[in-house]
């Protein structure tokens, strides 16, 4: 475990020692602030979000989380795209693989490192929640569940990002693969339901946003919890296997 944490710390430090974490954090908060305080209007895309923080609006972060859930499908793969792919490209993976740590520990370490950064980003949105507390009467149950849902959703997205990062030595390709996979689990399922409405019930079980929706409205559901945990574990397992395959390929 200590090896995993050491690796995770190293990963997290790597994020913060490079400008990337700050740029991503600033962009993330800029985006959140835009949605929260100004709203977003792109008429030709028929996007029209009123500011969430405005007189008379419901005192909740839920709409923000609902939009962020889709945004994370892009942010998380970008965050993790370099985690393993960069090791491949720089050749440091050989060093890592000869070190006295298992592949699973490598993957978990990178996962926890990325999660650390993600949690810092998420924590920064508490400032907006504080605004809602000051100017309205939010439902704390909904807020707690919303943050739990965001953590679980982020875990899955990061696991998928790390998996895609293990597939290639090119960061950009890894990022795109991750976005494609998450795109399927978030938006692709809707298309699939429209194409194959008779299998909607099965397809909907793959819809990550649907599970997240329960959390964001303040419902704790073990079905969603197990889904997120098991899918995270599955993708981390896949990542381990892909990494492991380098030994016998």
């Amino acid at each position: 475990m200590s090896k995993i944490l050491t690796l995770a710390r190293r990963e997290l430090a790597a994020y913060f020692f490079s400008p990337m974490a700050y740029v991503i954090a600033a962009m993330f908060l800029g985006g959140v602030g835009l949605l929260f305080l100004w709203g977003l209007k792109i008429p030709f895309l028929r996007i029209d979000y009123e500011p969430l923080f405005r007189n008379g609006a419901e005192a909740t972060l839920r709409p923000l989380f609902d939009v962020l859930a889709y945004g994370l499908a892009i942010v998380c793969p970008l965050l993790t795209m370099r985690s393993v792919a960069e090791e491949f490209r720089a050749g440091t993976i050989e060093t890592l693989m000869t070190a006295p740590i298992t592949d699973a520990q490598v993957i978990l370490g990178k996962f926890l490192g990325a999660m650390g950064l993600y949690l810092v980003l998420l924590a920064s949105t508490l400032a907006y929640f504080a605004l809602i507390v000051i100017y309205g009467s939010p439902d704390y149950g909904v807020a707690v569940m919303g943050y739990l849902g965001m953590v679980l959703l982020g875990a899955v997205f990061i696991a998928v990002g790390i998996f895609s990062s293990t597939l290639t030595r090119h960061q950009l390709v890894a990022g795109l693969v991750g976005i494609a996979i998450l795109g399927f689990f978030t938006m692709g399922v809707y298309l699939l339901v429209m194409l194959l409405p008779e299998t909607a019930e099965i397809i909907n079980r793959l819809n990550m946003i649907r599970y997240f929706g329960d959390f964001s409205k303040g419902v704790f559901d073990t079905q969603g919890l197990i889904f997120f945990v098991s899918v995270t574990a599955f993708f981390l397992f896949l990542s381990t296997k892909v990494l492991e395959s380098r030994r016998w390929r």
Partner: protein, 933 residues
């Protein structure tokens, strides 16, 4: 050897390949196993998962009522959310996610619910296609009527032929004198025209994309009914004409005799006048003869009138003389005779002036009378001479008309039109009757569809389908405006704010779609011209003292109807007894037979609105308008209500909800002394409730709430704003109030409803809403003048039992709403009395609640109107109707974000929208600089 040498280098490669293959298979199997594990874990969690709603406020949760309704659905219901609108004011960014959440939550509770979404035009057109098919199935019998009508409307030739037939009717024919042939031609042309216009309007169709069969069937029914009326009128007329010759033959001698008598009586009068006797004597002698003339003229007029009436209106046209009918002529004659008789009588006794003068006056009048009577005789003679000709014209029927009369006996006139019309009308009535509602214009199912057709093209609606029934829940029902647009309190931005009300709106429609109305609420009111005048007067200065009318409660009524309760009115001023209960099935098709055993009657619950009130000592002179007598409401009306409640009308006792409340005192100032006097108003049901139900409605006490004074121990500050809307939700464990505990309510003009100490009624009393025992800051104040003066001056107030104030004690809480129950001849009776004043009238339910902003002296918060108040009435109605399962509470209204001003909003944008993200960049920059060093 060579073989061996050649084989050696390949051995490790083969081993490697085998090893790789094995490793690959191993990985593949482990991935498969992991995937299987993933699937199994998720399947198990889906079937045996744990789900907990951890919301503290519950505004994403289904209400208890909605849960009951959804759980009780035994038939498949399809709910389609149609989200097609992009109008800014109907967009509502919270609408769709909230609606989806709610519908998914409903679906999760009951597998009979199927959800669908419509976003695109093609999806909408598929939906319309499916709905059209369903609608066609529902209105099959109606469509047959419509088709039959269209066929009839195409038979223009038939009408033309009939017009031609009447056109060829001879000018000298019997019916010509009545203008019948011409009239028939006009009627037939009009019928044809109306038919064609109606048929054209049917073909125009509906603008909604769904065929508007309900409207079409109405058009057809109206057209057919009008056609039938026209035909019947023509047939009746012809029948009267056919009987006219015989009637004339039978009556002509009598009629001629009557007229002859008039002539004779007239001659007698003329003879008496012209007898040469002294004027006074002649006039005197003429009086009895004029009376006889009056009687004879009256008889003649009456005989002619009776004959005319029995022969039809058209026949009496021939009795015209000098632009008046003969009955009118003889009526006028009688009237003249009476006047002349009176004049003669007066003249005979004329005694003013000298004899010569008297003689001159009498002679002059006598001459005028002679002249007038002469003219009268000429006219009567003229009539008499015309009579034989008239009788002749009415008696002689030409052969062609005889043939028409004979044909009409065999087959009614216009049978070729009337037969198909009657057939279609009968069929259309059958289609209504087959749905068990013969007294209604449209079948119940089609009535549902009428609403769907009207609203299917509205933006952002929810469509509910169950079997062959359908209902629409509109955007404004699911997502109503938080405030009344014309509210004087709200600013422009507030006027567009909406609140989510989907739980109530959708579950209410689901209930109405799946089960018949649960009960009938009778709005008991007193309305007569007197009450209306009083309403105008009292509404100017005495809240809650005005006699309320049902229209003051339209929001409550709407809410009751949405809760699947039918609402009818009982005006105590006009009706002795309440409207009879309807069968449970009435008005709704049975979709869930289990809920409607046998021929049970729908339970009734009375909602007794406050009656007109008058000050006890108010005399007639003091009455509001200065002329109005004291209120027409009396003990007779209380007895009517009492009979219904206690089951003395031959029906079961009807439970009742009484709306009581604080009645403001009538304050007057003596203009000379400046002395103020107050008079109490009387709540007319008070005595009955006290004596028979053991509930003392203290309309003379008003509930006030204070905050402990920081400077004077035991005294209270009484903020003015707190008194206009009293926030109280301390409901007891009573079934009607329990789910409402701790919810948001604001009450107005609240009075205590205390258990009467000296009541011998034997009724069991139980509180529903009270001020809990020992509460120190809320009391019932007697003589509000006392506290109002202090409030105006900003002084503190000390409630005192010595002044008549009533305080909540540990032994006796202050009860504000209570139930009482007792037996009447072994039959249970129940009443609920709410001392909550005007908390349920439209004005209260639409005005936002103004509150002082905490920590900001002088500034106010606007909270949404207290619409939730009505939940108490709905729950009480459910409770009294024995429908406890549906008792619940409506949606919560959560306090929204409230920015203090635009300036602070801009500041927050700068800090949290720009500075906060830039801070991260700054920290990053510092970190990079530090690292470089």
């Amino acid at each position: 050897m060579a073989v061996n040498q050649a084989d050696k280098p390949n051995a490790p490669g083969r081993d490697m390949r085998v090893t790789r293959r094995m490793a690959g298979i191993n990985v593949f199997i482990s991935i498969l196993a992991a995937a299987a594990l993933l699937v199994v874990a998720n399947v198990i969690s889906g079937k045996a998962g744990y789900r907990k709603d951890v919301e503290t406020l519950g505004h994403f949760r289904l209400s208890r009522t909605a849960q009951q309704i959804v759980d009780g659905l035994h038939q498949p219901v399809r709910i389609t959310s149609i989200y097609t609108g992009d109008q800014q004011d109907r967009k509502g960014e919270e609408y769709l996610p909230r609606l989806r959440d709610m519908l998914e939550e409903m679906q999760r509770r009951n597998d009979n619910l199927t959800l669908a979404n419509v976003f695109t035009r093609s999806q909408k057109s598929d939906l319309l296609g499916r709905l059209t098919q369903k609608l066609e199935e529902v209105s099959r019998s109606d469509r047959e009527v419509i088709e039959g009508f269209e066929v009839l409307s195409t038979q223009a030739r038939m009408f033309d032929q009939l017009v031609d037939q009447w056109n060829s009717y001879p000018l000298e024919g019997y019916l010509t004198q009545f203008g019948f042939a011409k009239a028939m031609q006009g009627h037939l042309a009009q019928m044809k025209d109306k038919l064609q216009k109606s048929a054209l309007s049917l073909r125009t169709g509906s603008s909604s994309g769904l065929p508007n069969y309900p409207q079409q069937i109405q058009t057809v029914r109206d057209s057919l009914a009008a056609l039938q009326t026209d035909i019947k009128a023509a047939v009746n007329q012809l029948e009267q004409f056919s009987q006219l010759p015989a009637k004339t033959a039978a009556a002509k001698d009598n009629l001629a005799g009557s007229v002859k008598t008039v002539v004779e009586e007239l001659d007698n009068v003329i003879a008496a006048i012209g007898s040469g006797a002294p004027p006074a004597d002649a006039l005197k002698a003429a009086v009895p003869l004029l009376i006889k003339l009056f009687q004879a003229s009256q008889k003649a007029g009456k005989d002619l009138d009776e004959f005319g009436q029995s022969s039809g209106a058209a026949a009496s046209k021939v009795w015209e003389f000098d632009q008046a009918s003969l009955p009118e002529f003889f009526g006028g004659l009688a009237s003249q005779a009476a006047q002349v008789a009176q004049a003669c009588s007066q003249l005979a006794q004329f005694s003013e002036g000298t004899e010569a003068e008297r003689a001159a006056v009498l002679n002059m009048n006598l001459n005028q009378l002679k002249q007038g009577l002469g003219q009268m005789r000429q006219q009567v003679q003229m009539v008499q001479s015309q009579l034989p000709a008239i009788f002749g014209a009415l008696s002689l029927v030409d052969p062609q008309t005889q043939q028409i009369f004979a044909n009409a006996k065999k087959e009614p006139l216009l049978a070729e039109i009337s037969k198909p019309v009657e057939k279609l009308l009968e069929k259309s009535k059958d289609s209504v009757r087959s749905n068990g509602s013969s007294d209604e214009q449209l079948s119940e199912k089609l009535t549902d569809w009428q609403e769907v057709i009207q609203h299917i093209n509205d933006d952002n609606i929810v469509l509910l389908e169950s079997g062959d029934r359908a209902a629409v829940v509109g955007f404004d029902e699911v997502y109503p405006l938080a405030r009344r647009p014309d509210s004087s309190f709200a600013d422009d931005k507030d006027n567009t704010r909406r609140v989510f009300n989907g739980d109530l709106a959708v579950s209410g429609k689901l209930l109405a779609l799946s089960v018949p109305p649960l009960a009938e609420v009778l709005l008991v009111h007193f309305d007569d011209p007197q009450a209306q005048r009083m309403r105008q007067y009292y509404s100017q200065g005495y809240p809650f003292a005005e006699p309320f009318s049902p229209s003051d409660f339209s929001i409550l009524r709407d809410r009751l109807e949405k809760a699947n309760l039918t609402v009818t009115e009982w005006n105590l001023a006009m009706q002795d007894q309440p409207p009879p209960p309807k069968p449970l099935k009435a008005g709704l098709a049975a979709t869930n037979p289990a809920t409607m055993p046998g021929e049970k009657l729908r339970p009734q619950v009375m909602l007794v609105l406050p009656p007109p009130v008058m000050p006890l000592e108010l005399s007639q002179d003091d009455a509001p308008t200065g002329q109005t007598p004291p209120g027409s409401f009396s003990s007779k009306h209380v007895d009517r209500l009492r009979n219904a409640i206690e089951g003395r009308t031959g029906r079961d006792p009807i439970p009742a909800i009484f709306l009581g409340g604080y009645l403001w005192e009538r304050r007057t100032i003596n203009p000379f002394t400046g002395q103020r006097t107050t008079e109490a108003f009387n709540y007319h049901y008070g005595t009955y409730l006290k004596e028979q139900w053991g509930l003392d409605v203290r309309t003379d006490l008003r509930i006030f709430q204070g905050t402990p004074s920081p400077t004077e121990p035991g005294a209270f500050d009484v903020p003015l704003l707190l008194q206009s809307r009293l926030p109280l939700s301390s409901f007891t464990d009573h079934a009607a109030g329990r789910p409402l505990a701790s919810r948001r309510f604001y009450w107005t003009d609240v009075c205590p409803v205390m258990p009467a100490k000296d009541s011998a009624s034997g009724a069991a009393v139980g509180p529903i809403l009270d001020i809990p025992p020992g509460t120190r800051d809320t009391w019932a104040v007697a003589g509000t003048e006392r506290i109002l003066t202090k409030m105006e001056k900003g002084e503190t107030f000390r409630p005192s039992t010595q002044d008549g104030d009533v305080l909540s004690t540990t032994a006796q809480p202050l009860v504000l709403a209570a139930e009482a129950s007792r037996q009447f001849n072994g039959r249970p009776g129940k009443v609920i009395v709410l001392g909550l004043g005007s908390s349920f009238v439209n004005d209260t339910l639409t005005q936002p609640v103004r509150k002082l902003k905490a920590g900001a002296y002088g500034s106010f918060d606007n909270e949404p109107p207290p619409l939730g108040n009505v939940d108490l009435i709905v729950n009480s109605a459910y409770y009294l109707a024995g429908q406890d399962a549906y008792i619940g509470a409506g949606p919560l209204v959560i306090k929204p974000i409230q920015l203090r001003n635009e300036h602070s909003a801009e500041r927050l944008k700068v800090v949290f929208g720009l500075a906060w993200p830039l801070l991260f960049l700054g920290v990053g920059a510092v970190m990079m600089i530090l690292r470089k060093r």
